[in-house]
């Protein structure tokens, strides 16, 4: 159904922090004037390492539809190896956006009717001082750059709040560095 809700589906692995990332974006969106924010993990069967997904909906008004996202405007993938296991772009709207943590450029991917953006969040986050494999704050920078939806300022504040007492500066740094190093590809004709 056509409405004013922006639907963002996050794909990660259990334990990778996709829910935390979505929560940070939800907080930043709310602080930026989006009154309607709903974040819902897949229910019931999360296991460490297994593919998981989280739905984040953002709108200017209260959201009454809590059902999982089937037609995402944006898809965010925390691990490019998931592409071998999951049809991440399933149901994506025409002109949608796929954001991938990947060492490869957007040209390496072919999502018809969508734009692809990539950043090597894994390497960038390590360079920013985070332990190896922590990518859920870096990916937020890629989201900010590719979507243009929410500025890095409210996102940095939301990261700082989420990681209070747990090295927020390194996480903010990872997001800012990733923002600068994200490559956004062209819209591929479907």
């Amino acid at each position: 159904m056509k409405d004013d809700i922006i639907r963002i589906r996050w794909h990660g692995r259990g334990g990778q922090g996709a829910i935390t990332a979505a929560k940070i974006v939800a907080n930043a969106a709310f602080a930026s004037g989006y009154e309607g924010v709903v974040m819902a993990p897949t229910f019931g069967t999360e296991r460490r390492g297994a593919p998981v997904l989280t739905s984040l909906k953002i709108a200017k008004k209260k959201i009454y539809d809590l059902s999982p996202i089937t037609r995402p405007d944006m898809v965010i993938v925390l691990d490019h190896l998931l592409l071998d296991e999951v049809d991440v772009a399933s149901g994506a709207v025409p002109g949608g956006l796929v954001i991938i943590n990947s060492p490869l450029g957007p040209d390496a991917y072919c999502f018809k009717g969508a734009r692809t953006a990539t950043a090597d969040v894994t390497s960038i986050s390590e360079a920013a001082g985070l332990p190896s494999g922590i990518v859920n704050t870096g990916i937020i920078g890629a989201f900010a750059r590719a979507s243009g939806l929410i500025g890095m300022e409210p996102l940095s504040l939301a990261i700082e709040k989420e990681f209070a007492g747990k090295h927020p500066e390194k996480n903010i740094n990872a997001a800012l560095r990733t923002y600068d190093q994200t490559i956004v590809g062209d819209l591929l004709n479907g």
Binding site: M1, D3, K23, A26, N27, F30, E35, V37, V38, M39, A40, P41, F43, G44, I63, Y64, D65, L66, S67, P68, T70
Partner: protein, 398 residues
């Protein structure tokens, strides 16, 4: 202050603001994060309460019964088979007239095992003598938990605050945490009329004879039947207490106003969908869509399910053309439990009565897409035939 967090966290913050003094709970999905949050509050000194870990739900409520009998403000929470396991104590708490508050994080019942949402757990306890209130979003969860303690302590009847497992319990959305000072004024510390007191030992709820008798002071004491009659009449009169407490809450916090039935676009509606819980909010989208197509439909969420607000149901719906009762539970072998209640309430209506169609949906977490609800409502509103008496299951893949 607004925060974005889960429905379980909303409930935990309500319990904290209500200054519950004894919490006993056994973890069960999807209730677990609620009790984890409460144990954190107690452990971190944010709540001055006794958190009593127990080995089962039966013991959880037994502890609350003991604590409440001693005059403490007691809270527990459970889901599904956990609620069934404590069922004997559920009935006991109501008969003993103890103002306990329990969150029921609605989940389908095994067998076969399911951890996902429907309403069969709470519906199975609807005749236990507890008050049952259903919530549609996180703001209602936290606000209702606070009001539930006031309600329970005013009428000396325990209250279940029901909210959808996962759909609300694990979903994050913004909600406001009410100001502590205002909650303290709205809900003062508990001051029970009777409590266990070692200085004045009494027997409570011993074997009670079928007939009335003289008590130890030589006064006529009620028999079992009188005690149970009192529970029923007090439940019936608690409908107006629910309205009074809601009005007081609205005056202090600016939220509320529809504590029995929460209507949406019902005033000029010929057709009204009726349900429990968060489904009523999702149905608003389907109503908006059909309204754009010129179909005069509305939706009403029943918030107070027990005691059943039958008079409000008659006032709201008896002049409608058709009611569409959509349920995540049923009285097996008969029809949707809510539908049976609505039908019974409207049978007493004078004059016209609407047609009623009954749909069963989302059992065991079967996904409910909004376009399914649009199709369902459209079909139900535009059908020319009188609806049958059998409930129709939506989303079955047989």
């Amino acid at each position: 202050m607004h925060i974005i967090d889960s429905g379980n966290t909303a409930a935990a913050n309500g319990v904290k603001l209500a200054r519950a003094e004894v919490i006993a709970a056994y973890p069960i999905t999807p209730q677990t994060p609620l009790t984890e949050k409460l144990s954190e509050f107690v452990d971190g000194g944010e709540m001055d309460a006794q958190y009593i870990p127990v080995e089962s739900e039966h013991s959880a409520l037994a502890v609350c019964i003991a604590a409440s009998s001693a005059g403490a403000r007691a809270f527990t929470a459970t889901s599904a088979n956990g609620l069934l396991y404590m069922s004997e104590q559920v009935h006991w708490a109501a008969g003993a007239r103890l103002p306990i508050v329990m969150c029921v994080v609605n989940r389908g019942i095994g067998a076969p095992w399911t951890v996902w949402n429907d309403h069969q757990d709470a519906i199975s306890q609807r005749d236990s003598g507890w008050i049952q209130i259903y919530c549609c979003d996180h703001q209602q969860i936290i606000d209702t938990v606070i009001q539930a303690f006031k309600l329970a302590e005013t009428v000396s009847i325990p209250v279940m605050v029901c909210y959808d497992g996962y759909i609300l319990s694990h979903t994050y959305m913004p909600f406001e945490i009410p100001d502590k000072g205002r909650v303290d004024a709205f809900l003062p510390r508990i001051s029970p009329e009777y409590r266990l007191d070692p200085e004045n030992p009494v027997n409570l709820n011993t074997v009670t004879l079928p007939d009335i008798r003289l008590d130890i002071h030589g006064k006529t004491a009620p028999g079992y039947m009188e005690i149970r009659h009192n529970l029923h009449t007090d439940l019936r009169s608690s409908i107006s207490v629910v309205e009074e407490i809601d009005a007081g809450f609205k005056k202090n916090f600016g939220r509320g106003g529809n504590p029995l039935i929460e209507p949406y676009r019902c005033d000029d509606a010929e057709f009204v969908a009726i349900c429990l819980g968060s489904l009523s909010y999702q149905l608003r989208l389907a109503v908006d869509k059909l309204r754009n197509d010129g179909i005069p439909v509305g939706v009403a969420g029943i918030r107070l399910y027990r005691p059943f607000p039958d008079q409000a149901v008659r006032e709201a719906f008896s002049s409608k053309k058709r009611l569409i009762v959509i349920e995540k539970a049923l009285s097996y072998g008969n029809q949707g439990a809510l539908c049976g209640d609505i039908r019974a309430a409207l049978y007493a209506a004078t004059g016209s009565r609407p047609d009623i169609s009954n749909y069963i949906i989302g059992i065991g977490g079967r996904e409910i897409q909004t376009n399914m609800l649009v199709d369902l409502l459209e079909k139900a509103c535009t059908g020319t035939e009188k609806p049958g008496t059998e409930a129709e299951w939506i989303g079955l893949r047989m």
